[in-house]
């Protein structure tokens, strides 16, 4: 089982360093480097945790995720993955984009999209097909395996993108408002599926959202960002029991207390 091997390797690294870390990171945009987007951000993402990052639009959430992915470099400071400086994207850190429609290859079927990361992994065709079939089943995409993305609903398309990420066996999953464009019911279903997956795969997850309740419902911890420039204003341990439940968790007084606190913080800035 490669899973076990991956986990032990990650666990070894975790004993010395957090899965991901930002050290005094600043990002400045603009021709004269005059638009600070993120300022003095320092944070750790612990091995195996589910970290939500919440903040108003324009607070640099997406920029932060792109830094962690290695899709861009910070102007100042360091981004570390398992203790080593990030200098580009890596298959160990999968990204789930919000705009699933653009992130899938429209000319490949569902199965073809999920197979994409496996084509380089040195797998034989039967092995690859078996892995794809397993992921298709896990994400409830059986009926859609041979359809093209344009033929699927938004929720199904996002499932395909998550399955494609899982196919690359990442140690970290970076998610940029993945459910932001979905309707409320689909969103709740996918939230619960994601929690189950993250627990089962023990994959470290960073989840960006502008939805406070979603951040608390999913997260082990929530980091709140404020805008202009983007900075950390608060880190809270959620501390609600798992598995979470769409009804009871959201009615839990502790849940409501966290929500009040974050709401007040984000309003205050």
């Amino acid at each position: 089982m490669p899973d076990v091997e991956t986990r032990t390797r990650a666990a070894d690294a975790a004993s010395e360093a957090p899965a991901l870390a930002l050290r005094d990171v600043g990002v400045v945009f603009g021709a004269e480097a005059n638009r600070p987007v993120l300022a003095n951000i320092s944070l750790d993402v612990r091995e195996g945790e589910f970290l939500s990052i919440v903040g108003p639009s324009g607070c640099g959430k997406t920029t932060l995720l792109r830094l962690l992915a290695g899709l861009m470099k910070p102007t100042t400071g360091d981004v570390l993955f398992e203790g080593k400086r990030v200098d580009g994207p890596s298959r160990a850190r999968a990204i789930v984009f919000q705009d699933y429609a653009n992130a899938l290859l429209p000319w490949r079927t569902v199965a073809g999209n999920i197979a994409l990361p496996l084509e380089r992994a040195g797998l034989s065709k039967p092995e690859r097909e078996a892995r794809v079939a397993a992921l298709v089943a896990k994400m409830g995409l059986d009926a859609a395996a041979n359809r093209y993305p344009a033929q699927l609903s938004g929720g199904m398309q996002q499932r395909v993108q998550i399955a494609r990420c899982l196919a690359q066996k990442p140690r970290v999953m970076l998610m940029d408002e993945p459910f932001g464009a979905l309707d409320a019911l689909t969103r709740q279903t996918l939230q619960d599926e994601l929690l189950a997956l993250a627990a089962e795969q023990r994959v470290t997850t960073v989840f960006i959202t502008h939805d406070l309740e979603e951040a608390i419902y999913l997260g082990d911890r929530v980091i709140a960002l404020a805008a202009n420039p983007g900075r950390v204003v608060e880190t809270i341990d959620v501390g609600l029991p798992k598995p979470r439940n769409q009804l009871t968790t959201r009615e839990d007084p502790a849940f409501l207390a966290r929500r009040h606190r974050l709401f007040g913080l984000l309003q205050g800035h």
Binding site: R93, I95, F97, L105, W107, T109, Y148, A150, Q168
Partner: protein, 253 residues
């Protein structure tokens, strides 16, 4: 079902055009030397099929045209990918291409004759020169407009440059490439005919040219009808290929 219904009015229009042709010739509104009757024209065509003489011309024209078009498509897509994907190639090649592009392909015929003589190579060169532009231009656009999101997906998955080219950029540019190749094919038919007339190479173009010179009206129009049929057949074939190649674009299948 609506497709069959929609096919009726165009067929009626074509029949009306034939009828008009027949009326014009029947009442001698135009001299039969310039415009023979439809019946005589189709007789001529049937005769050329019966004695097999048309196949030689047809294959000569088709072979020349398709060879020139394929070369143009290969070169156009390769150049288009280079220009669309790499700023270096764009800066290096664009000025020269912008100079060459407005040159009428027929103006290249004398140059091609200088280099290749009155030969097949000359014709293929001219056809390729003329039909490369639509493919090249649309390939540049297609490869230049791969969505930034897909570039990031490619980077996140650690795809190599060649994997990006084969698995992301080329399929992404394919609708533009196919559209360009369709326009290129129309140009290649024109130039196949023009080069045949200029260099007296065997083919439908030369047949038409010689028929006109010797006032063989029926032969002239028979040749024109064949060219029209080629155009329709090829466009239809490409349409089918396009639908197969780009079937992922259909919303329901």
């Amino acid at each position: 079902m609506s497709r069959t219904l929609n096919a009726l009015p165009p067929l009626l229009f074509a029949a009306a055009a034939l009828l008009a042709w027949w009326l014009v010739t029947e009442f001698r509104l135009v001299s039969p030397v310039f415009l023979p009757t439809p019946a005589r024209t189709f007789d001529e065509l049937a005769g050329r099929f019966a004695d097999g003489s048309i196949w030689t011309s047809l294959f000569a024209t088709l072979a020349r045209m398709i060879l020139g078009w394929l070369l143009a498509s290969l070169a156009g897509v390769a150049l288009g990918a280079a220009i669309g994907l790499t700023p270096l190639a764009r800066d290096l090649l664009s000025p020269t291409l912008e100079f060459l592009r407005p040159l009428p392909a027929s103006a290249m015929i004398p140059v091609a004759i200088l280099f290749f003589g009155l030969s097949e190579q000359m014709a293929v060169f001219v056809i390729a020169f003329g039909s490369i532009w639509p493919v090249l231009m649309s390939s540049v656009f297609g490869f230049g407009h791969v969505s930034p999101r897909l570039r990031e997906v490619s980077a996140a998955l650690g795809l190599t440059k060649w994997e990006f080219l084969g698995k992301i950029a080329t399929p992404s540019a394919m609708p533009d490439i196919v559209a360009g190749m369709r326009s290129g094919l129309a140009v290649s038919l024109i130039l196949a005919v023009v080069t045949e007339m200029q260099a007296s190479l065997p083919g439908l173009g030369r047949d038409i040219f010689l028929a006109q010179r010797s006032f063989r009206g029926t032969e002239l129009y028979a040749g024109l009808i064949m060219l029209g049929v080629i155009g329709v057949a090829i466009n239809h074939g490409l349409g089918l290929a396009e639908r197969r190649l780009l079937r992922w674009r259909a919303r329901d299948a």
